[in-house]
Symmetry: C2
DNA sequence: TTGAAAGCGCTACCAG
DNA sequence: CTGGTAGCGCTTTCAA
């Protein structure tokens, strides 16, 4: 900046005024032109960090995540946060903690020491996480997770798994299915119980008697979907199977094929997650529900960039979108 | 820092010396203790950005990527870069450009303006990308991509797709298969041609006549794998099918099941990518090759953090690891 | 309308 | 061994 000033024959603060295009101080058009020319000639670019330091502000937000690498869809969250940040002229430092609380503390410390404007915690699977107390002085928003202890969060953003579970079940019941199997995922997880509640309520809506449905809890794996499906069909013959996630649905699809049943002609099938490179590529393409990672991330980013401060309000629920593809068909009247 | 100094009754530079634990200047143990106590009492943490500014260095590296959200494995790269950075006490700002060159320029500019120590370009699919000229003054390393124009790169890190393609083919030929089908992915892509070269060389190694193998080019999609498999089996009966990636292998598996062929009893099957939540979860679990995203990212991070400067050397090839699971079996002697 | 001086939080280099 | 002073690149008074 002093180089530019020297070349333009003005003082250094003057350069600051013109490059920042400040309306409140007026500088002569001629001077301004000289400064601009000099800046261009020297290929001058202001130093953002120095600006931040001087203005005692920060234009970076920190995102701490566990397992950006371990789940295929986590990238969506980061992308969403980043898009919101970009809109506000901020930038994201992301650190991944290997799910180790000490690591997490270290990560947050390094962020706080850099004076980030806000911190967003992002988790691939919805669950409580222990926030670092180092962060308590900084605006903090949680997306797809919530603080496991008392903590002054600015916001917590959660997917509406209940609504998603209900919507996908409705899509099945609405096509006349009564005898349906519900293959749930890991029973302890919050998402699982929410999805399950959605199923139960949808069944009730359509006047389906609980005795007609069969429910089994498993794991969120392809194997689990495969095994559960074979078990269920050994006992009965549901016309639809709803799975806790897409991988279980893949397992169910494989099992159904081995059982000689066509999907969706013989039995309808649904998943959950809309896992990229999977759900949309199965044969038949899977009807499922998409988790709103991008939206949640974007929302989290917006809040983080707004500097709203701790609110202590209710979690903000972001809707899950039903993705109807080809794996659900109307029940055959003979099966009804 | 001045607060700490005041509380400890020393000068501010003295605080700097003790909190930075500098051996070259000696401070009296008693003074040191007083400073430490004061720092603790005030919960003092040095400001990294201010340190960076004063020392005219930077402890952040920028990573620009296109599509961290679009491919499931991209996160691995970021994680690798970050692990290397962490080891060196640095931190990563990551920006995603929606594959838009203007966006990419803007991203790089914002990074450069922040004075990042280095920039690493990371791409989910291996290919040339246009680097921003704004970056040319900063150390730049390319991982899973290379500059499409003359550019002073510090390094380019590439997966050894040739070796991967060769290894997986070897695993098949070594089990006695002669009549094998090779279902390639998008023919224009660098990775595809490398994998194809590997296949051809492996076939030659095992003395397999080109006329015995059947090769078809498709797309990297499940549908393509499905369709190609049906086409191939309409004409002939290979004992093994090698696919360009895991999704094609999934399509092939589905087609084979529809054709009444068991994998691997009747036909062996391989993929490529070791796609998480897919390859390892199919039935049978897929033999495939893992792309070394984590390693490539780590290596890129190491170089970026080392401040080596432009080298202009050859690309650094990182080996692809063959992952042998259950989808390949020895050819039946009757088929031989 | 412009320039001189101060200071963001820190480290480097002197003198004492 | 410690304190004063200068300065990283910038913005913000305030006086001229």
């Amino acid at each position: 900046m002093v180089d530019v000033a020297r070349l333009a024959g003005v003082s250094q603060p003057t350069v600051s005024f013109v490059v920042n295009d400040r309306r409140d101080v007026s500088v002569a058009p001629e001077t301004r032109r000289r400064v601009l020319d000099a800046a261009r000639a020297l290929d001058y670019r202001p130093n953002r960090s120095a600006q931040d330091l001087r203005m005692s502000r920060s234009t970076v937000i920190g995102v701490v995540t566990n397992g950006i690498a371990s789940l295929p869809f986590a990238g969506q969250t980061i992308l969403g946060i980043q898009r919101a940040a970009k809109k506000a002229g901020l930038v994201c430092i992301v650190v991944d903690t290997a799910d180790d609380p000490d690591d997490s503390d270290a990560a947050v410390t390094s962020l706080v020491d850099r004076g980030v404007a806000a911190i967003v915690y992002a988790s691939p699977s919805t669950r409580p996480i222990r926030p670092s107390m180092f962060a308590s002085a900084t605006d903090t928003v949680f997306t797809n997770c919530w603080p496991s202890t008392e903590f002054p969060a600015s916001a917590v953003i959660l997917p509406d798994e209940y609504q998603g579970g209900r919507d996908v079940a409705r899509a099945v019941f609405a096509r006349g299915h009564r005898h349906v199997a519900y293959l749930g995922g890991t029973a302890q997880e919050w998402a699982s119980v929410e999805r399950g509640r959605g199923f139960v309520d949808a069944a009730a809506e359509y006047g389906v008697d609980p005795s007609e449905t069969t429910t089994a809890d498993g794991l969120y794996t392809t194997d689990s979907g495969y095994d559960l499906t074979r078990e269920v069909f050994a006992q009965s013959s549901p016309t639809a199977v709803l799975c806790g996630n897409d991988r279980m649905a893949l397992g169910a699809l494989l099992a159904l094929r081995d059982l000689g049943r066509q999907v969706p002609a013989d039995v309808s099938l649904t998943g959950y997650d809309d896992q990229e490179f999977l759900a949309g590529e199965l044969r038949p393409r899977l009807t499922t529900v998409a988790l709103p990672f991008l939206e949640m991330g974007y929302r989290a980013g917006e809040i983080a960039c707004s500097g709203a401060g701790a609110t202590g309000g209710e979690p903000e629920m972001v809707p899950c979108r039903l993705v109807e593809r080809e794996s659900v068909a109307a029940v055959r009247t003979t099966d009804r």
